[in-house]
């Protein structure tokens, strides 16, 4: 109660400062008048009475100050005073303020930008109501279940370690059993996807990302409809009408936000669906980074021709199950009961999924952590980047601390005067800290703008260059705001503390008694320089750490780019199409492909055209267990497989070392022929003639291919991997990636290619168009992102450290102008003066470099997983980083040192 009253009084005091002051003045004056009157009544003259009254009081001002000090809200009041004073001081030195604010803006901005991404990728909660009640069901066992198929869609990471498998995909009937447990869960939903769906009936055919969801999906997540309705349980029943719900963003993009969309019929993979509604605007995703354009009931998988999604098959593992816990039910309780239900379904089915010894179990993982999505892929690079920007901020702090320290020299007299006039040391320190916190808040304000632009650019880079399109929300939220403010405050105190302590520790009387010039030559100066040098050494060391890291990544990137892919990666345009999505069957696909091959070949600038089931070096991979004829070992071996069309090897410039290529006859259904690579021969057919040998999967009815040729080794899935045994077999089913070998850069051909495909059949959507080099760049996404950003941050650090070095020497030159004058007058050569300052700068650089190389040696290990063809302790990179700094640092030293040389002795001695 009392403290509350005091707070109220304090606030009132603050807001009514003027009135409170006036009242106090009147009150004290009334007291003086009262005493004066007493004295006059006692017989004194009015003047004598007044004098003695004032004497009794001992100064009205000190009385008032005593009242103010004891008053509530004083602390706040002095902060306000400090802030106003600090603003005045900073305004007086606009150049200094601008440099400091800009430096801090870069440091804080870089941190905020990266944190915005960390927040979006790692921290942001699922945008639905009460996401903390949601759990995702994850099974684990010693091995994968007996199944007819296992599909996962990047919602929840599949873990494979020796003797343990864990994933979230489940058969649909298991979901039904779990959904029946209304005693545990308020609601349960199953979903799978997204799948590429060919959407027709809304202008030209296009690809939409379709998520297959149970009827309970939106109710479980608590997502309302923005328009029309969401899905209901009835939509999931057998024989129900085919309906679809649109994502809000997709509705805006593809349908222009048209209100009349409800009730419209669209064709998805050639099946008719009625749009019944649009989901809420706030619902952007369930799994981070994964977006869907359209939601359809899970039982429509068959109608959409998605082979992996059979709701009746108790052995097809493909849906992810998320439940909302019933209120009052603990996760552990629900887990125990759900585990029993899960085991009952999977172990006592007609065909048990596991044996008892496999020890299967079900766990309920909080959805926020279980649905990791791209968190796993981006988590590590982001953590590294966070560390990198932390280092940049440290450099910026050291830099600004150095500037403040140098400046405090010119403020020594001001501080001395304030101390002499009775300011307490605490108050002086508070004042200096207020200044630095203000500076860093200003830096944070500017930095936030930089950060927003930076984060947007980064998110765009990540979403267009990753393996698949990602969506990263970079809109700043409360987390980001709090983070920035915390960083700004910590920074302000971090760089301001040393100068503040020094300022408050000053011996007031001693400093004041000295003249201006004398004050600049005292031994204290050497001490200060010691601190200044230490700060620059720190900057040098940290920027060398950054340069080394960036150097290692740049060399990695260079190594990866110079890897021989085994085929000519330049001037190739890749075009993805999937006619099956438009209702083509096996017999017609062949004709379409031949037609397209012919039409595309006749485009101007195109040398040769072929196609394959997937592109080389684009992240796709198909591996098959095969038995090779005549192999003594009975076990089947793993071979990478790629289906190709005619003229593939010619188009890709993938040389054949033996035998013949695959032609039209092979594709049209002649005896199964195949070409294998050298690694295949080396590994499986050592010392034997491969031509004429047969191989194929060890299953009844599986094709047995005859080897008709041997191709040179080429990289298939990634540049980093060793070339694995690979077989090329004729393509006669499924989607295809066309490859166009062009005369010049192929980017200009994109429009013509799209037009040609449309002319041939406008129901066949072009899913993607990329050049081969783009596809490879996407593969190198992590390395490129890191090399780019670390390179940028390292340059920033280098620049800041050089400014620090420059500032240190400039200050030194200014401080020792008189000394230089005396030395020159006494006969010192210009070269002596130059050497004096260069030596000083070089010592700082040398000490910093040694410390930096040492620190880098300990720290580059964290980059290990990103490096290729270069060791974490690569001596060349370390030396390069140190040399680079030495050269740039020397330039930073030369400027102030040359200024020292130009000092005119007569001038220097006169300016007392």
């Amino acid at each position: 109660m009392r403290s509350l009253l005091r707070i109220i009084a304090g606030v009132r005091n603050l807001f009514h400062m003027r009135q409170v002051e006036g009242d106090l003045d009147a009150e004290v004056r009334a007291y003086v008048d009262g005493v004066t009157e007493e004295r006059i009544a006692a017989g004194m003259t009015p003047e004598a009475a007044r004098r003695s009254a004032l004497a009794e009081i001992g100064g009205t001002e000190s009385v008032k100050q005593a009242v103010r000090d004891g008053r509530a809200g004083t602390a706040l009041g002095t902060i306000w005073q400090d802030v106003r004073f600090a603003l005045r001081i900073l305004r007086k030195a606009p150049g200094f303020t601008a440099v400091v604010v800009l430096t801090l803006a870069l440091g804080i901005g870089a941190n905020t930008a990266i944190f915005t991404l960390v927040n979006a990728v790692l921290l942001q909660t699922i945008p639905v109501s009460h996401p903390e009640e949601l759990v995702v069901m994850r099974w684990s066992a010693h091995k994968e279940p007996e199944s007819t198929g296992m599909s996962s869609f990047g919602d929840c990471t599949m873990r494979r370690s020796s003797g343990n498998r864990s994933a979230c995909s489940m058969p649909y009937p298991v979901y039904r059993a779990l959904a029946g447990r209304r005693d545990l869960f308020a609601d349960v939903t199953a979903f799978a996807g997204t799948a590429d769906l060919n959407l027709a009936g809304n202008g030209q055919a296009s690809i939409a990302q379709g998520e297959l969801v149970s009827g309970t999906y939106f109710d479980t997540l608590g997502v309302p409809a923005a328009l029309g309705r969401t899905l209901e349980t009835a939509d999931e029943q057998k024989g129900a009408d085919a309906v679809a719900v649109l994502d809000y963003g997709y509705w805006q993009r593809a349908f222009g936000g048209a209100q009349g969309v409800v009730g419209r019929t669209i064709r998805l993979n050639n099946a008719a669906f009625t749009i019944v509604g649009v989901a809420d605007r706030r619902f952007t995703r369930l799994t981070p980074g994964k977006t869907a354009d359209v939601y359809v009931p899970v039982n429509q998988a068959k109608a959409l021709g998605l082979r992996w999604g059979d709701a009746d098959d108790a052995q097809a593992w493909w849906v992810t199950v998320v439940a909302r816990l019933k209120s009052g039910v603990k996760r552990s309780e629900a887990e125990a009961a759900a585990n029993v239900a899960f085991l009952n379904e999977t172990m006592h089915a007609q065909k048990p999924a596991w044996k008892d010894a496999d020890d299967p179990r079900l766990t309920l993982v909080p959805a926020q952590e279980g649905l990791s999505g791209f968190r796993r892929a981006l988590g590590e690079p982001l953590r590294l980047l966070m560390a990198a920007v932390g280092i940049v901020l440290l450099i910026a702090c050291a830099n600004v601390a150095g500037l403040l320290l140098a400046r405090s020299a010119s403020r020594e007299r001001e501080l001395a005067v304030r101390l002499a006039l009775g300011a307490t040391r605490r108050r002086v320190m508070k004042q200096l800290l207020t200044e630095s916190v203000l500076l860093s808040l200003a830096g944070a304000a500017v930095g936030t703008l930089l950060a927003y632009a930076g984060a947007t650019a980064l998110a765009a880079f990540a979403s267009t260059n990753g393996d698949r399109p990602l969506q990263i929300e970079v809109a700043p939220d409360l987390h980001v705001l709090l983070f920035t403010i915390a960083v700004a405050l910590a920074t302000g105190i971090g760089f301001g503390l040393a100068p503040a302590i020094r300022g408050a520790r000053m011996r007031s009387a001693a400093e004041m008694s000295r003249g201006t010039t004398e004050a600049q030559n005292v031994p204290v100066g050497r001490q200060r320089l010691g601190m200044g040098s230490t700060l620059v050494v720190l900057q040098v060391a940290l920027s060398i750490v950054m340069l080394t890291g960036a150097g290692l990544l740049l060399r990695t990137l260079g190594n990866l780019r110079s890897v021989d892919a085994g085929f000519d990666t330049r001037n190739v345009l890749l075009v993805w199409i999937n006619p099956e999505l438009a209702g083509y069957d096996k017999t017609h696909v062949q004709g379409l492909y031949e037609n397209l091959q012919q039409r595309l070949s006749s485009l101007p600038g195109v040398k040769s055209v072929s196609y394959s089931s997937t592109a080389l070096l684009n992240g796709g991979l198909w591996t098959e267990g095969v038995k090779v004829e005549g192999q003594t070992n009975k076990q089947s071996v793993d071979s990478q497989m790629l289906r190709v069309g005619p003229r593939y090897f010619e188009t890709m410039r993938l040389p054949l070392v033996r035998g013949r290529s695959l032609g039209v006859a092979d594709v049209r259904g002649g005896p199964p022929a195949a070409i294998v690579n050298e690694a295949f021969v080396r590994k499986f057919l050592e010392g034997r003639d491969p031509i004429g040998l047969r191989f194929g999967p060890d299953e009844k009815g599986a094709p047995q291919w005859t080897i008709v040729g041997v191709a040179k080794d080429a990289k298939y899935s990634s540049l980093e991997e060793e070339v694995a045994p690979t077989a090329y077999v004729p393509l006669n089913t499924g989607g295809a990636t066309f490859a166009l070998r062009t005369n010049g850069p192929p980017a200009g051909l994109v429009a013509a290619v799209r037009k040609t495909v449309q002319e041939v059949d406008d129901n066949v959507p072009v899913m993607q168009v990329r050049t081969q080099s783009e596809a490879i760049d996407r593969q190198l996404f992590n390395q490129r992102l890191m090399a780019r950003l670390l390179g940028g941050f390292a340059s920033l650090g280098l620049g800041l450290a050089c400014i620090g070095l420059y500032g240190l020497l400039s200050y030194e030159v200014a401080r020792r102008t008189r000394e230089i004058g005396v030395r020159t007058a006494l006969g010192a050569q210009r070269s002596d003066v130059l050497a004096m300052f260069l030596r000083r700068g070089l010592i700082v650089v040398l000490v910093g470099s040694v410390a930096g190389v040492g620190a880098a040696a300990g720290l580059t290990r964290v980059l290990q997983s990103l490096l290729f063809g270069v060791q974490v302790l690569d001596p060349l990179t370390f030396l390069g980083a140190a040399m680079l700094f030495a050269v740039v640092g020397l330039a930073a030293c030369l400027l102030p040192a040359s200024r020292a040389v130009r000092v005119d002795p007569a001038e220097a001695l006169r300016c007392e």
């Binding site: 009084a9 009150e27 009081i57 005593a66």
Partner: protein
């Protein structure tokens, strides 16, 4: 302000002020003179101690103030004891009595 003036014991000033104000209304000078009177001149409270204490006690809710006319027609700030102030008199009196008795018995021993 003779040399004989006894230093105010820490914590006694609040109690003296609350006592001096009593059930009436008083301005600063009045309180000061009243304290001198009721302590038979032992304690003379200087404005440098008096005013900070008055403002602090007002913020604590023991005193309330208003502006009025003084005996010679001047504007003056008057203080009055609140209910909380009365309770505080009880609390502090008890504390002071305990200390005084303890000291007395200690000195006799």
């Amino acid at each position: 302000m003779g040399q004989s003036q006894t230093n105010l014991l820490q914590g006694t000033l609040d109690l003296l002020i609350l006592k001096a104000v009593g059930d009436g209304e008083m301005h600063g000078l009045g309180i000061s003179r009243r304290i001198e009177q009721i302590t038979q001149g032992t304690f003379q409270v200087k404005p440098g101690s008096l005013f900070p204490a008055l403002h602090r006690m007002e913020e604590a809710g023991w005193l309330t103030s208003f502006w009025g006319e003084s005996e010679n027609n001047r504007r003056a700030k008057y203080y009055r004891r609140t209910k909380a102030g009365e309770r505080q008199v009880g609390v502090e009196t008890k504390q002071w009595t305990t200390i005084a008795e303890a000291m007395a018995s200690a000195l006799k021993a």
